[in-house]
Symmetry: C2
Subunit: 268 residues, 2 copies
């Protein structure tokens, strides 16, 4: 499994990915799932991939070959809009899956990949897209400025609490790290090290690209502070009521087939 995340804020875009790959529990390896393309000074692309590792590899190789062939044919150099890059990458992904489709079916293999593509082309705003295995895509809004692929649920509550399009780029990166950290604590199919990239609007080069592992001192301090803070703020919360509290409104009209046998006190 995998967990990749991109956040689009006013200052730019943050990309984050874990590196754990597994083909069954007895073949667990580490692969980079973040791929950076900067084929000219006027454009930068970051691609995050979740799904079949072979499909992803073929996709990355073909994107590279198409860049070698440029300006002939379609490539990350030929596109004028970021959404065209999403269409191009989505199309390649679909073609690769179709090429192996009958063999996948015969072997009962899932050949799908789900992708996040982000970056900027000069003259356009930076953006991020989630590309489905079928090749189509969705984007983000200021209300929901992030995209996730892979094992997305564990790291979503903390995003929903804290994400905002006005976050500073560094804070968005920190939030991405906190979201990945929540995920690896609860699910072993997502694992260290993590890759992070930050991109500041109109710079056309990554602002930073860092790999964070268990022994990264910054991450160790952050984990410790974060965990201690949780214990502290949980302690601040008012005590749970030990008897019936004020009952609920319209939604509370629940049937209770066990009412005949239930004799617990304080049925709310």
């Amino acid at each position: 499994m995998t967990y990749c995340l991109a956040i689009r804020v006013d200052e730019g875009v943050v990309f984050a990915a874990d590196t754990r790959t597994n083909a069954g529990v007895d073949y667990v390896t580490s692969y980079r799932k973040m791929h950076v393309f900067r084929p000219a000074d006027d454009r930068v692309f970051v691609l995050l991939a979740a799904g079949n590792l072979a499909t992803t590899r073929e996709l990355i190789d073909e994107i590279g070959r198409d860049l070698d062939r440029a300006p002939n044919g379609e490539s990350l150099l030929s596109v004028d809009y970021l959404f065209e890059a999403a269409q191009y990458v989505g199309g390649l992904s679909r073609q690769i899956q179709e090429r192996h489709g009958p063999a996948f079916v015969r072997s009962n293999v899932m050949g799908e990949v789900t992708l996040i593509l982000g970056g900027q082309i000069r003259g356009r705003a930076p953006d991020i897209f989630l590309i489905y295995p079928q090749g189509n895509y969705i984007g983000v809004s200021d209300e929901t400025p992030y995209l996730q692929i892979g094992e997305t649920k564990y790291g979503k509550p903390i995003l929903d609490r804290l994400v905002h399009h006005s976050l500073a780029l560094g804070d968005a990166a920190k939030l991405a790290l906190v979201s990945l950290d929540a995920t690896i604590r609860s699910n072993i199919t997502v694992g260290l090290p993590f890759d992070f990239a930050t991109y500041a609007t109109d710079t056309f080069a990554l602002s930073s690209q860092v790999r964070i592992g268990a022994e990264t001192a910054y991450y160790q301090r952050l984990r410790e502070t974060w965990q201690k803070s949780f214990v502290e703020i949980f302690g601040r919360l008012e005590d749970f009521p030990q008897s019936s509290v004020d009952a609920t409104g319209p939604g509370a009209a629940a049937t209770d087939p066990s009412a005949n046998f239930a004799t617990g006190p304080d049925r709310g």
Copy 2:
């Protein structure tokens, strides 16, 4: 969907459940998923259910009928151990599913239910079990003192940070509420109101049973404090490094097929 949770601590057991039920997005209702049985002074049982609502209803009805027929036949009155109650309830659940099995298959309906059963029988320790649709069950340990069914992932990270078998009963209930709250913020198939029950060891009656809805003042205050605290502790975290940080160890040996095209600075 559903989210139910039970935590076994040294002082007793906490049970929590949401109430949202849906058969498609256009038939969303509220049903109690927590069922309390106290058929004699020496025993109390709490059952939480996730899955097919009709299977659950039939199960609750048959548990009740078997209690009416006691002391004839197997029932929650005839069992001597809590695990026997799990075997009995698991057996009923399996029989109900088998009874409708061919019809479920014809209609492509999922008739399964997954259950949490907990409580205490005098002379034995309180305990909780997760009962699979197949009727078999697992328990908990001091290391992992909780069980979840339904939409479990969103509320797991906060549990993994804070749960401990030495938590006070009220703190365990508060933690369950925080876990349910994280879930409904991120997933609309889990919804208010919530049912909570706390059971203190060797009391053979519930210590408290409360229903908490959006307009419950305690819950409103807790949500507000919790959200503000998150913003505060996130602000405490050290800034994300803007350039390459110390690289990682053995796990970091990743192949990077995009290295040829990537020209971002500070490649970690």
